[in-house]
Symmetry: C2
Subunit: 331 residues, 2 copies
């Protein structure tokens, strides 16, 4: 009648993480991603303990549409990072995972060299949507990786809208990968996403494509100059690279170092992180309040009915909202 205990104690998790034990780190991430209330409480105890050991990495967001060569880029750029004797964790946020339960990284075959690199750790995103939607627990996963001594974190996402904002809100440096001359319309990159970028990198700058890439680089540079600069005074550089020929990658790393020096000197680096953390608390609260509201069965039924009434112009939005709020607070 012996039931195997799957969960470790708080101390076992914490000690394992601080010792950089990848197996325990993975278990801790699974715990953090769990939708179980009891797991959540345990996860928070672990997070509280490891918190003093977090925050020492550079957090880099990497996005771009499918086909831009993200996996190849991360594979090669990741090797460059570990060649500097820096430990690298690659996390992925998959906007489709909410529905499919799938993950971008699949079975890690996408980045086979990096996957076997002892200085690297690759972890696909959770499929759960238990709190806050897309990439919910990625922030907490990032903290665990930092406590485990990873000095560089890549947070990868597919460029399709929603998820970029989430990534931007948890990283220090946000990098947008673009293709040259694919007809930029086809890349589906929204202007709002370009605005978030701390750097734009044009991939596949090799062979016949080189000239096109340089032209695209200048075009994007001009487009960026049309708009207002960021409050920090940082001008996002537009760079080209070829992952397969290992060209331009050192320059990208150079820009990231330049950026962090610049931001730390001006005090924006720490301020940005504090702001992100406080915002994250309020985001979780907003999400949980809405969750509590709409998972109420009576409310959700009434809400659907009122949406129909609004569509058919039977009720003004403000009255529909009040009806729902009255039902929620007074019953």
């Amino acid at each position: 009648m012996y039931k195997r205990r799957k969960r470790l104690t708080v101390e076992e998790y914490v000690n394992g993480i601080l010792k950089s034990d990848k197996i325990i780190l993975s278990k801790a991430i699974t715990l953090v991603e769990s939708a179980l209330e009891s797991d959540n409480i345990l996860a928070e105890q672990v997070l509280e303990k490891i918190l003093p050991h977090t925050g020492k990495s550079i957090r880099i967001g990497i996005t771009g549409v499918p086909g831009v060569g993200k996996s190849t880029f991360i594979e090669v750029f990741g090797q460059l990072v570990t060649a500097k004797n820096l430990r690298l964790a690659v996390l992925a946020i998959d906007p489709s995972s909410q529905r499919s339960g799938g993950s971008i990284l699949g079975d890690k075959t996408r980045m086979s060299t990096l996957a076997t690199n002892p200085l690297a750790y690759i972890r696909p995103s959770a499929s759960g949507s238990s709190l806050g939607g897309v990439g919910t627990k990625t922030r907490e996963t990032m903290l665990l990786c930092e406590a485990a001594g990873f000095e560089v974190i890549f947070i990868e996402t597919v460029g399709v809208g929603q998820s970029e904002t989430t990534v931007k809100s948890m990283v220090d440096f946000f990098m947008l990968l673009m293709l040259a001359g694919a007809g930029d319309e086809l890349q589906g990159i929204k202007k709002g996403i370009m605005e978030m970028a701390d750097s734009i990198v044009i991939t596949k700058a090799d062979g016949d494509n080189k000239v096109k890439c340089e032209r695209a680089r200048r075009e994007y540079e001009n487009a960026l100059h049309l708009f207002s600069p960021s409050v920090t005074g940082w001008y996002p550089p537009v760079l080209t690279c070829s992952a397969i020929h290992n060209e331009g990658l050192e320059e990208i790393w150079g820009e990231i170092e330049k950026f962090t020096t610049f931001m730390k000197k001006k005090g924006f680096f720490q301020k940005n992180r504090q702001h992100q953390n406080i915002q994250w608390m309020h985001d979780i609260i907003s999400y949980s309040l809405r969750q509590h509201f709409y998972t109420n069965e009576k409310i959700s039924k009434l809400s659907r009915a009122l949406e129909k009434d609004i569509e058919n112009q039977k009720i003004p939005s403000i009255s529909a909202a009040r009806k729902l709020l009255d039902e929620y607070f007074h019953s």
Copy 2:
């Protein structure tokens, strides 16, 4: 001991509005803008009654930074609209009003000709922030104006970020006014705002400035083409105009008509409005839930303390959020 009744009955409001009585319309808007609970209930009854008479206008959002010539533009463009025998309401959303209680339009001296035009109605925004923040009750004000027979609605705002999103979410056509060669950085226009525009209009295209405006027009056209087109298939035209010489304004009106025909034919016009109305209900709910949460004195005190703890890295955001939610739901 006679106390003058300031409020009318629901019927008096409704009849006055449907008869296009501007004085009663103004009183109804004041009622809608009121922060008093009893006024809100009365206002909703009025809104419910007039709802079948709403929705027949073209709702046009107009934005641009101070100095772009918005007042002059609206003054002249408004005359063009009323010259077509269309009744025009001009509403303003002032993002600063939340703090100062002031309003963009001040005493209507900004648009003196339009203010005395019998086919026009000018109304500054409410200063209240009672529900939903910036421009809260502008949607309801718009409904009242539509029921009063106004066929074109301008919703004006200053281009400083937040308020444009609000305006975009309540109009059919969103127009961005820009200056040529002022150094676009100075205009502080964010890429995300350009992305929302259904048309960009470059103002003050007169005299020596004409050449510069035409060059700016081409530049913005190119910049817009760099990005992905809207799902509707509408390509935002970039136009120039001179309000003081009355040049280019008929073309702008032509584009608005082209846009509405295009959108109605494709079914996007009505869908967009339905979506806006449903979203508005959910926005009011989210706002009210947060309001209820943070106006709780115990919560707001604890929240401030936890923000400090997060800043000093004493607690992870997720634990801070849970502490607050536990306090809220269990006490």
